[in-house]
Symmetry: C2
Subunit: 420 residues, 2 copies
């Protein structure tokens, strides 16, 4: 049995707002990731302005180059929404009124208590022969146009550019249609999520896997997290892929906190909930980022008791019982104070664990002994208190988000170790 060849796709993003930087095109990457997962290959992406000539050139080129085209945007009611008319022209067909679509748009306006502006009639004018994709999430219908040209056939999908609507079209129409239309070689994709390890060090540890047949390795940094993506070709047997994944996890060691899981706060939350344990946090330089991440997980109220952003020295003393003499002797940014904060908030909240941060986020506030980026973090457990001295670089935002991530990672490592 021969493997099917990989079907190709062109992504066309439509709209002046993308070319003036008003809007970052997140649709293209979102679609590309899902298409790649399904076994499609994205040939290239184009962003076209609201100009008939440019759109028609882009359509013609895509129809020739690829097995399918996904075009987002340009389906609105205003004069700069040109996509549908351009498709009709390139396809050599007329536009015709699709009464059902017009009725839906009118009903939507009626629901809003307004009369439909005349301009919206345009949204119901669709290329003759196109399959209409009903929009249950907004006004503009999408459509499928199966193009046959001298270079072969191309299935064109035209959907609104609003990301919320686009994603619904993907789920309800595009994904099912593409999967039904194109055979694809099966691929397997594993993401190893890592914290507390540099990308260069991850690359080094993955070096031995470079020659592995049928395996593509890539790296992605979403600070403070680093991810390793392993993509196995269709030809790789499941057992061999399993074995490679296991060896890769072993090579990374304890810095890998999960495989295809959610963010680290979710991993922590699941572990705390499973153990019936609780957490409280005392944040100085991270200003609430840790508690915000913890509480972003639904159900966090089961294990998260209290977070304290003890920004002033008075608050450190009052809330966490930090010893004013220790503060005076070592300064707020010190190992002693970090430990006292973690232990203090743990006691105060009656939690199993206390996490704490204190540091200099910059750009001001640094000194030769304690430069910007100096951060002390601590974890207090029922049996001991663990401390780390971080020396971080970069902007204020980078320093605080790295510090928040590495503090969460301190707890994650404790929860995932057998050391309790």
């Amino acid at each position: 049995m021969t493997q099917p060849t990989t079907p190709t796709i062109v992504l066309l993003s439509q709209g002046d707002e993308l070319l003036t930087g008003q809007t970052v095109d997140t649709n293209a990457a979102w679609l590309a990731e899902r298409l790649t997962e399904l076994g499609f290959k994205v040939l290239y992406g184009v962003t076209a302005p609201d100009e008939t000539g440019a759109i028609e050139r882009a359509l013609t080129a895509a129809f020739e180059a690829a097995d399918a085209l996904i075009c987002t945007g340009g389906l609105g009611p205003t004069s700069d929404d040109l996509t549908t008319a351009c498709v009709a022209r390139v396809a050599g067909v007329e536009l015709a009124l699709h009464q059902e679509s017009l009725d839906r748009i009118k009903a939507l306006y009626a629901h809003w208590g307004r009369e439909m502006p005349q301009a919206n009639v345009k949204q119901a004018m669709l290329p003759v022969g196109a399959r209409v994709l009903t929009n249950d999430w907004g006004t503009a219908p999408g459509f499928e146009w199966l193009h046959s040209g001298p270079g072969g056939a191309c299935a064109g999908y035209f959907v609104p550019g609003v990301p919320r609507e686009m994603r619904q079209f993907w789920e309800h129409y595009l994904r099912p249609a593409l999967v039904a239309r194109f055979e694809r070689p099966p691929v397997r994709r594993v993401i190893l999520r890592c914290m507390g390890i540099a990308e260069s060090s991850l690359e080094e540890r993955m070096q031995p896997f470079a020659g592995e047949p049928g395996l593509t390795i890539s790296f992605r940094t979403k600070l403070p997290e680093n991810q390793v993506k392993l993509i196995f070709d269709a030809g790789v047997e499941t057992e061999r892929a399993d074995a490679v994944v296991a060896r890769a996890r072993e090579a990374i060691g304890s810095s890998c906190f999960g495989e295809g899981t959610g963010p680290i706060a979710e991993v922590i939350g699941a572990a705390l909930a499973a153990r019936g344990e609780t957490l409280a946090t005392a944040e100085s330089c991270t200003g609430g980022q840790i508690s915000a991440q913890i509480t972003e997980i639904s159900g966090a109220s089961r294990y998260f008791l209290e977070g304290s952003c003890i920004y002033s020295n008075e608050a450190k003393v009052r809330t966490c019982g930090v010893d004013p003499e220790a503060l005076a002797a070592h300064g707020a940014v010190s190992e002693t104070v970090a430990r006292q904060l973690a232990e203090g908030i743990r006691d105060r909240a009656g939690a199993t664990y206390g996490l704490a941060t204190t540091g200099i986020a910059g750009p001001g506030g640094g000194s030769p002994e304690k430069p910007v980026g100096t951060v002390h973090i601590a974890l207090a457990t029922p049996s001991k208190t663990v401390h780390r001295h971080l020396r971080l670089r970069g902007s204020r935002e980078r320093i605080t988000s790295m510090a928040a991530g590495l503090t969460l990672d301190l707890l994650r490592r404790h929860l995932q170790s057998n050391d309790y």
Copy 2:
């Protein structure tokens, strides 16, 4: 005196990671925004894979279509970094070793305590006749290639794709070079930053300005903030533009918190610092997002005393002195508790202002009387306590970020009013 015509630019983003969705291309929008501000017109954008044919086609098309090209990515040391070789081929010149660049790369590796891998030599091989753009922020040098073809001249700029490095190249080379090379019609651009007003309502209030000659109005939503962008053509006199901006601000009213300012937390911070006033926060459903935003502003320690994420009922009572009977009678998500939290944290920290949130972020925890998205927020001032009942929709993330933004806005409105 005639106005210069608008010079045109093509943006070429290079790399397979953009076409598999591993990376969202933020470079293109970042560059497009700056280019538009400078008076350039971005003709179109292309994302090309790591394939010689596709890159060469994209280069050829861009050299023909535009006055300038900015290409990001593809300058790395590995075999899938193909940009430089493709430029040389399209330009019809050889690659030659640029010794100074090689020396810099070697020195960088030496600084890291490592020997330069042989693969990196490639990064110093540049098209003969190109102007080298020294990289002080990474390994790969960029370069400028002035192309002359049958369609006219095109200035090509080739820079690394890592956003941090790309932005340095823009600041140090691209911006100065483009400004020096191309005359552009002057434009003026004003951003009105708004909070607590729906985009549709903003559009309605801007309706009377639609016919204003030489003015382009656009809207941008970065929840919980909405922005109105006013772009005035070269022909519009300063006084008339000033008058339009003033009228637009008046039309929006108190929902506009600034013009070309930083985020709302910065506006709040500046006002607090100027008045010598202080702030403390008590967050339940927002989990620390408010304190994280406040402390993201450098110098926040001058006015931010303490933040408390009082997630459990015990913490609400212990930390903010909420009355347990009020909790039992009204529930944690209630006007009474929001007011007591704001007043309690204000008292406790000895701050001028106390801000508080309590709500149901979902997806679980809702009831018919208090559905998901029910949030009570409060501001305690020296003279009174203000409360708002929010009814928010959407995901947990959307609800909590809207709640955090609108709570900050409660304080912002107080600080910007004359009501103190």
